[in-house]
């Protein structure tokens, strides 16, 4: 088990290194291949009408004049050993893992990202609890009452949930339940209060993003659970369980649902991992200062160190989620043995 985890962790690090190289190549190498020069790249970070001298200074400061290998090496070195950065009168050390400095704000990326993890975590975990409970419960009931009115209604709603994009459901829910009309049940517009500052305000501000995000995911989980349950409940061992005289509740929950849970767990791990890397649309729609909003702002402003940082953090969460899911397989399904 320990060997397995260590092996997976090493592969995780290799994966992150590959992701960082690909991302770096996309944002630093591809523009060069398309003809961009150090100055034309730097011109993005000094404003449209900066003087040639300002652009030249910016290219120097941002290290664009160095070969790409040197630039990537500097980035990688920062992650492992930290980096020094001049603010003018002082030079500051950015400790490892230093993901570089924003080209625009000139502040280190890593603390900024860490600062945003609780926001994205609050959103993703809260929404995940809702969609897991609602999705799985709906799927189980639909499977047990196949063809009933509930089943058909639930699956229709599920289809709508999967089909409607967040930027639509989010705005509609804001109009309906925020901005003071017609049913103001949550904070007006996007707002976020840290949990430790005020738990009630934290939940008040997040309830709408939770429900909106959960609506999208619950729909998929309901459909997945339903099909899994329908398949499992026809298995021989379910008939055996019933023949043994077990109650229907035990048959459904302990034998049926557990068997249908493996694919749900897989997809849940991936979904949660992806969301921890930033729920871009939800955070943008509700103006939540999480990793997703950070990512979209970084891309819009072409702030490359921020883009690099957010991609790495997102990849980290996906790698981590995959590992956790694989470990949980053994718990959910005793037939799986890790080695």
């Amino acid at each position: 088990m320990v060997t397995y985890i260590i092996r997976r962790l090493i592969w995780g690090v290799v994966m992150l290194a590959i992701v960082s190289m690909i991302t770096f190549a996309i944002f630093f190498l591809v523009p060069r291949l398309a003809g961009a020069t150090s100055e034309s790249l730097a011109a993005r970070y000094v404003g449209r009408t900066a003087t040639a001298e300002q652009v030249k200074l910016a290219a120097e400061r941002l290290g664009f004049n160095d070969p790409l290998v040197v630039q990537y090496g500097r980035f990688a070195k920062g992650i492992v050993a930290g980096a020094d950065y001049s603010y003018g009168p002082t030079v500051e050390h950015c400790p490892a893992p230093c993901l570089g400095y924003s080209f625009l704000s000139r502040l280190p990326v890593w603390p900024d990202l860490l600062d945003r993890v609780p926001v994205t975590g609050s959103l993703a975990i809260g929404a995940a609890i809702i969609w897991l409970i609602a999705g799985v419960a709906t799927g189980v009931i639909s499977a047990l009452r196949r063809g009933s009115l509930f089943d058909r209604a639930a699956m229709s709603v599920a289809l709508a949930g999967v089909s409607l994009p967040i930027f639509f459901t989010g705005i509609v829910s804001l109009v309906l339940f925020s901005y003071g009309r017609p049913f103001a049940i949550t904070a007006p517009g996007g707002s976020y209060t840290p949990f430790l500052t005020n738990p009630a305000l934290w939940a008040y501000g997040l309830i709408l993003p939770w429900i909106t995000l959960a609506f999208l995911y619950a729909a998929g989980y309901a459909r997945l659970t339903r099909s899994g349950m329908l398949e499992t409940m026809n298995e021989d061992y379910i008939r055996t369980a019933r023949a043994k005289g077990l109650t229907e509740r035990v048959v459904v929950v302990k034998h049926g649902l557990r068997g249908a849970l493996t694919p749900i767990l897989t997809i849940f791990g991936l979904d949660l991992g992806l969301l921890m890397g930033g729920a871009v649309l939800t955070e943008s729609t509700f103006s939540l200062p999480g990793i997703g909003k950070y990512a979209i702002d970084a891309i819009v402003n072409q702030d490359l160190p921020k883009v690099m940082g957010v991609v790495l953090v997102a990849a980290f969460f996906v790698v981590l989620a995959n590992l956790l899911v694989d470990l949980l397989y053994a718990v959910v399904d005793p037939r799986v043995r890790l080695a």
Binding site: S40, A43, Y45, V46, G47, R48, T49, A50, T51, E53, Q54, L57, A58, E60, R61, S86, Y87, G88, P89, T90, E92, L104, S105, R106, L107, D112, D115, I171, L174, V175, S178, Y179, G180, R181, P188, G189, G190, S284, T285, F286, S287, P289, K293, Y294, D297, N301
Partner: protein, 593 residues
């Protein structure tokens, strides 16, 4: 709308590249809109459309409360040495005091400069080559340290370093007589900079320019003259906690998320007649969804959209069709001109008669529609200077028919006079990334075709539009770019700042990069030089109108529209009024009911 500056190197030198501007900035009330009350008094205006354009809406001296603001993007920088956005210059006065400031008053009055940290406006000497300011006594930083002229000098010196402060303007870098090789306060620590700025005593600061410039007070209002205590300066990180010299200071500041301001107990109102300091504080959130900002403004949860560029397209339709919502908005004309350059280097437009034909044939209503129509696009322009710039005069040399849809008969007359009775062919360029410019080019293509002038559309990348294409004389001539869709805004409402970069022929470089792609008239250059040396404002302002008229007589520029924005007044705000100086609401003296 971002304020940026391109400084041209001209015969008159960098000085003349100074009052210059780029995109954004001041604004003006549409002529004819009424209102008379002045800041700080007068009858409460009725809650109606444009109620805060030329008068104070909801005047009050009531103190208390927290004003909530939001910004759709991030702040460029809170550092007075590195900020170049109009809203930031407007807001910075809450925590910083520059030598001079624009008068906190509605409408045209706001374009007037008044002393802030200084006792009076600058005193010019040596034919406006030297400018002296005396600081007020008793002004302190937030920690109680008295502010001296050396703190102002240090603020300007540190802003020189464009490696540390790449976003800021270069007005002081280019105009002051810095010692050779000077690199700013950090890299040239021991340099003697008295040739540029002297501080003979703690209350006096003297600026020495390389060449005379009559408008130096406009530079003295820039945030770079806000004092910075040397021992508290942290360079690029100073923006995390700017040391206040104004009525509010930073409490919490999370770059990228927002910040809060609280009262600065060391601000003495006796030294500051310009600021009311009504609310107890400000709460600013950055990087907020732009549509969310509009909705929260309308619902009353938010008081101000700090960017001041107006409502989003999704909100416009809703607000303009609902009388109740519309009554809570203002629709000012800002100091930005969307226009088309008519290049006299490209035949047959070298003939003034052909250029005049273009002026008459243009459908101005279609041009306005291309930019979004009357409310979100702008007001049809008949000359260069927007109404909010002092010196603006109403005139229309080429009326395009009674309904502004173009006077084809008149255009054909001029085509005949030009020797092209059946019209001619040329190209029109625009920035490919800008759909409104494309629409404007298409509108001209259709309207000029009626007179027989056939235009072919030529889109070019925005980043290289001036450097390689429309703004590069050789390329434009060889590729017959007779018309180029263009735009320009002022950093502040001043004729020199608005006109120089777009009408001075000496800023045109063969290597490209100039915003002036068509105006080549030595007489215009001469008039600009005369105006830049005139220190008497009353004599200087009419000169801008004279230049405007001369360029229009040359028909080198086809004015399209003077841009407008739709601003939403936050519910519960007091002392709301539009400032020509900033092209948005004045944030200085607002309060809460």
């Amino acid at each position: 709308m971002k304020r940026r500056t391109t400084l041209g190197v001209t015969a008159l030198g960098a000085v003349l590249a100074l009052g210059l501007s780029a995109c954004g900035g001041g604004g003006a009330a549409t002529p004819g809109q009424s209102g008379a009350a002045s800041a700080g008094g007068g009858d409460a205006a009725k809650a109606e459309f444009n109620a805060a354009l030329t008068q104070v809406f909801n005047p009050s001296d009531k103190k208390g409360g927290i004003i909530k603001l939001a910004n759709a993007g991030d702040w460029d920088s809170l550092d007075p040495g590195d900020t170049y956005y109009g809203y930031s210059w407007d807001f910075i006065r809450l925590y910083g005091r520059s030598l001079v400031m624009f008068k906190p008053a509605p409408g045209k009055e706001s374009a007037q400069l008044i002393p802030d940290l200084a006792e009076s406006l600058g005193v010019p000497s040596d034919n406006a080559k030297t400018w002296t300011y005396k600081l007020k006594q008793g002004v302190k930083f937030e920690d109680g340290t008295p502010i001296t002229s050396k703190d102002v000098k240090y603020g300007v010196e540190r802003s020189f370093d464009k490696e540390v402060f790449p976003d800021g303007y270069t007005y002081f870098n280019d105009t002051l007589d810095w010692p050779k090789g000077y690199k700013g306060a950090y890299k040239s620590k021991d340099a003697n900079t008295d040739s540029a700025i002297e501080t003979p005593d703690d209350q006096t600061i003297v600026f020495h320019l390389k060449q005379p410039y009559s408008g130096f007070d406009y530079f003295a209002q820039l945030p770079a003259t806000i004092p910075v205590p040397k021992d508290k300066d942290t360079g690029a990180k100073y923006k995390e906690h700017v040391i206040s010299s104004g009525p509010y200071k930073f409490d919490k500041n999370e770059i990228g998320k927002g910040f809060t301001l609280v009262r600065n107990e060391n601000w003495d109102p006796a030294t500051d007649p310009n600021r009311k300091a009504l609310p107890d504080g400000y709460e600013v959130t950055t990087n907020v969804n732009a549509d969310d900002i509009d909705n929260r403004l309308l619902s009353g949860d938010l008081h101000l959209d700090i960017a001041g560029t107006g409502a989003q397209p999704a909100t416009l339709g809703r607000v303009l069709t609902d009388p109740n919502l519309k009554a809570g908005t203002d629709n000012p004309t800002i100091t930005r001109l969307w226009y088309t350059s008519v290049n006299g280097n490209v035949k047959p437009l070298d003939n003034i008669e052909c250029r005049k034909a273009v002026q008459y044939a243009a459908d101005k209503v279609a041009y306005q529609t291309a930019y979004g129509g009357e409310f979100s696009g702008g007001q049809i322009a008949t000359s260069l200077l927007p109404p909010g710039i002092p010196g603006h005069e109403d005139f229309n040399l080429y009326p395009p028919g009674p309904d502004n849809h173009g006077d084809i008969a008149k255009a054909k007359e001029h085509l005949t006079a030009c020797g092209q009775p059946n019209g001619f062919e040329t190209n029109i360029s625009y920035r490919a990334e800008r759909p409104k410019e494309k629409a404007a080019a298409e509108a001209l293509q259709q309207s000029l075709a009626k007179a027989g002038i056939k235009l072919t559309l030529k889109p070019f990348p925005q980043a290289d539009y001036f450097a390689l294409y429309a703004g590069k004389p050789g390329y434009a001539k060889d590729n017959k770019i007779g018309l180029a869709v263009n735009g320009w805004g002022a950093d502040w409402p001043d004729g020199y700042g608005f006109l120089q970069q777009i009408v001075d022929s000496r800023v045109i470089r063969e290597t490209g990069g100039s915003s002036n792609v068509s105006v080549r008239d030595p007489e215009v250059d001469k008039l600009l030089d005369q105006a830049s040396l005139e220190t008497d404002v009353a004599k200087r302002e009419p000169m801008w109108a004279q230049i405007d008229r001369k360029v229009m007589e040359d028909a080198f520029i086809l004015p399209g529209i003077w841009a407008k924005s739709l601003l939403i007044r936050g519910k519960g705000l007091t002392n709301v009024y539009y400032s020509d100086a900033f092209g948005m609401y004045d944030y200085l003296n607002m309060g809460l009911q």
